[in-house]
C-alpha cells in the first residue's frame, strides 16, 4: 500500500494525467460532433436527418471495446493508421458524440414551438434559429445530462488500456503486475474516478444554477 505512493507515485500521476487528457479531448470532441449531429437531426433536409439518425443509432449501440479494436486494428487493414491516443480519442468521440447529440436534442425539444415560429417570422434562417434561439437554450437546460455524458466518457476511458493507452487503469494494472498489490491498487484507482465524477457533478450543478433559463 505504502509503496503505491512512494515507488509508483510518478506512474500513478502519469496515468491520472493521461485519463484526464483523454477524457477532456474526448468530451470536447463529443460536444462538437454531438452539436453537429443534433443540427443534422433537426434540420429540414431529409437526407441530413437520416444521416444524423443513422449515426446516433449506430454508435449508441456499439460497445466501446469493439469500437476501440475496430479503429485500432481494423482501420490499418484499409490503410488508415492513427497513433494509439488518437485511436482511443476517435472511438470515444464517436460514442460520446452520439450520446451528446441525444442530450442536446432533448434540450431543443424543451424550447417551445412558438419561439421558433417567432424567430422565423423576424426573418432568421435555419442557422440563425439554431445559433440565437435553439442551442443557447438547449445547452442550458441539459447541463446535467451533459455531465452524465462526461462521467460516462471518464469511466469508459478506463477501456483505453486495452489498446495500450497508458491511462490510470492500465498503469494500475502494470503496477499491480510488478508489485502484486491485489485489489488495493484498483481501490485507489476507483477512488480517483469517484472523486473526478463527484467534482464533475458538483461543477455541473453550479453551472446549471447559474445558467438556468428563466421561463
Amino acid at each position: 500500500m505504502q509503496e503505491l505512493f512512494t515507488t509508483y507515485f510518478a506512474e500513478l500521476l502519469a496515468g491520472l494525467w493521461m485519463t484526464a487528457r483523454l477524457t477532456a479531448v474526448s468530451f470536447l470532441g463529443s460536444l462538437v460532433v454531438g452539436t453537429i449531429a443534433a443540427a443534422f437531426r433537426i434540420s429540414p433536409i431529409v437526407p441530413l436527418r437520416a444521416v444524423g439518425r443513422l449515426y446516433v443509432e449506430l454508435f449508441v449501440n456499439i460497445p466501446l471495446i469493439s469500437l476501440l479494436v475496430i479503429v485500432t486494428f481494423g482501420l490499418p487493414d484499409v490503410g488508415v493508421t492513427f497513433d494509439l491516443f488518437t485511436c482511443a480519442a476517435v472511438s470515444m468521440v464517436l460514442l460520446g458524440g452520439a450520446f451528446t447529440c441525444e442530450a442536446i436534442r432533448t434540450g431543443v425539444n424543451a424550447v417551445s414551438v412558438g419561439q421558433i415560429e417567432a424567430a422565423r417570422s423576424i426573418g432568421l434562417d435555419f442557422f440563425g434559429v439554431l445559433r440565437h434561439v435553439l442551442f443557447p437554450q438547449a445547452y442550458r437546460s441539459v447541463v446535467q445530462p451533459l455531465v452524465n455524458v462526461f462521467i460516462g466518457i471518464l469511466l469508459s476511458s478506463s477501456l483505453a488500456g486495452v489498446i495500450g493507452v497508458k491511462d490510470l487503469t492500465l498503469q494500475v494494472s502494470e503496477i499491480n503486475n510488478q508489485a502484486a498489490l491485489g485489489l488495493t491498487a484498483y481501490m485507489i484507482a476507483a477512488f480517483a474516478y469517484v472523486i473526478i465524477s463527484l467534482l464533475a457533478g458538483w461543477a455541473g450543478a453550479r453551472l446549471e444554477k447559474r445558467w438556468r433559463v428563466q421561463r
Binding site: 481494423g74 425539444n109 421558433i116 492500465l170 502494470e174 502484486a180
Partner: protein, 324 residues
C-alpha cells in the same frame, strides 16, 4: 423543426440496425484477423492436426491414461487433497486460449496443453480421474482467486516472482521459459535484443515483459497491449517493430501465423512457472512431492513432447529443479 420521436418505432429500427451492425462488425473483425490456417503437420503429430490444434492429442491422451494414482492413505492424510477427492474434481484457475499450454478444442470441449496436462494429471493422482473444472483467470485476478479459495490451484503460465510469493504459495517450478523476439517475416534489421534500441516494441501489459525490456533494452519504446492477439496484430500491421514476451507464447503465434518469425536467441532470466496455491496450507508439500515423482518417472517429458515439443524441435529439456 421540433421533432418528437415515437419510442416504439425507434425501437424496432434500432433492433434492425444493431442486427446489421453486428454483421458489419463481424465482417470487419474477420477482415483484421488472419485466416486461420492449420499448422504445418509435424513429424510425430498423427491425430494432432485434426482440429487445428498444434498438440499431438493422441500422445497427450496416452500420457493422461498412464498417469499415476496416489495411495488412498496418502490423500487421506492431506486435508487439501482430501477435499478435492471428496469433490471428485479439481478446481483449476487457468485459461483455455493458450495454444501449447491450455487450449480448448471447440469440437470436443476438451482442454489440452502442457498446463492442462499438469492439472489433469494431478487430478488423476488425487481422484483417480483426470477431471478438472476450469475457471478463467486473468493476470489481475489470480492472487485474489487463490486468497479467497475460489480455486484449488492456478496453473496458467504463472511466473514465480518474489512479490507474488508474498501472497500465494508456489509449487514447482514445473516449467522454465526465457523471452524471445517476434518480428514480421520481412524484417531484416532486428536480429538480437541489442537491435531493439530505438525501436517500438510491444509486450503484454500485465506481464514480466515490461520489466524485462527496461533491463535488457532500455532504449526501446515499450508499447503495451492487454493480450497476445493485439500485440501480434500490432506487429503484423507495422504499428510496432517487434514483440517481446515469453518464448512459449511466441512459439504458438509463429505456429499459427506465417507472416511472423522469431529472431535472435532467447534472452533474459529464465522465467519459472509455478503452480499457484493458497498460502500456508499443506497443499505445497503434497504438490511438490507429486511433481518430483512425475518428473522422475518420465511423465513430465512425455507431456512436454506431446505439447511444447510439437513446436520446439528438440529433445525434452531437464525439468527445472523444484524448490523445497
Amino acid at each position: 423543426m421540433d421533432r418528437i420521436e415515437i419510442a416504439g418505432r425507434s425501437l424496432t429500427r434500432r433492433g434492425v440496425l444493431s442486427l446489421g451492425l453486428g454483421t458489419l462488425g463481424a465482417g470487419v473483425m474477420a477482415a483484421c484477423s488472419n485466416t486461420p490456417s492449420l499448422p504445418p503437420s509435424s513429424g510425430s503429430a498423427s491425430a494432432g492436426g485434426a482440429s487445428g490444434s498444434v498438440i499431438d492429442l493422441a500422445a497427450y491422451d496416452a500420457v493422461l491414461a498412464k498417469g499415476a494414482v496416489a495411495d488412498a492413505s496418502l490423500v487421506e492424510a492431506n486435508s487439501w487433497a482430501k477435499a478435492i477427492k471428496a469433490r471428485g474434481v479439481i478446481n483449476r484457475g487457468g485459461t483455455d486460449t493458450s495454444s501449447l499450454f491450455s487450449l480448448r478444442d471447440p469440437a470436443t470441449g476438451k482442454v489440452a496443453g502442457f498446463d492442462a496436462g499438469i492439472s489433469q494429471l494431478l487430478a488423476k493422482y488425487i481422484t483417480g480421474q483426470p477431471k478438472e473444472n476450469l475457471s478463467q483467470v486473468t493476470v489481475d485476478t489470480r492472487e485474489t482467486l487463490l486468497q479467497n479459495q475460489s480455486v484449488d490451484l492456478i496453473i496458467a503460465t504463472y511466473s514465480i516472482t518474489p512479490a507474488r510469493q508474498q501472497k500465494v504459495d508456489f509449487a514447482g517450478p514445473y516449467y522454465e521459459s526465457k523471452s524471445a523476439i517476434l518480428v514480421k517475416s520481412t524484417t531484416t534489421n532486428i536480429n538480437s535484443v541489442d537491435d531493439l534500441a530505438g525501436k517500438n516494441v510491444a509486450t503484454q501489459a500485465a506481464s514480466t515483459g515490461v520489466a524485462l525490456l527496461q533491463k535488457y533494452a532500455p532504449k526501446a519504446n515499450v508499447q503495451t497491449f492487454d493480450d497476445n492477439p493485439k500485440c501480434l496484430a500490432a506487429v503484423q500491421q507495422g504499428r510496432v517493430d517487434a514483440y517481446v514476451i515469453d518464448q512459449s507464447i511466441l512459439l504458438s503465434d509463429v505456429a499459427k501465423n506465417k507472416d511472423v518469425k522469431l529472431v535472435g536467441d532467447p534472452f533474459g532470466n529464465s522465467d519459472p512457472y509455478g503452480i499457484g496455491l493458497h498460502k500456508g496450507t499443506d497443499a505445497l508439500a503434497f504438490v511438490n512431492t507429486w511433481l518430483k515423482a512425475m518428473e522422475a518417472d518420465g511423465t513430465w517429458a512425455a507431456l512436454w513432447k506431446a505439447t511444447v515439443g510439437q513446436v520446439v524441435k528438440s529433445e525434452p529439456p531437464t525439468p527445472p529443479a523444484i524448490a523445497s
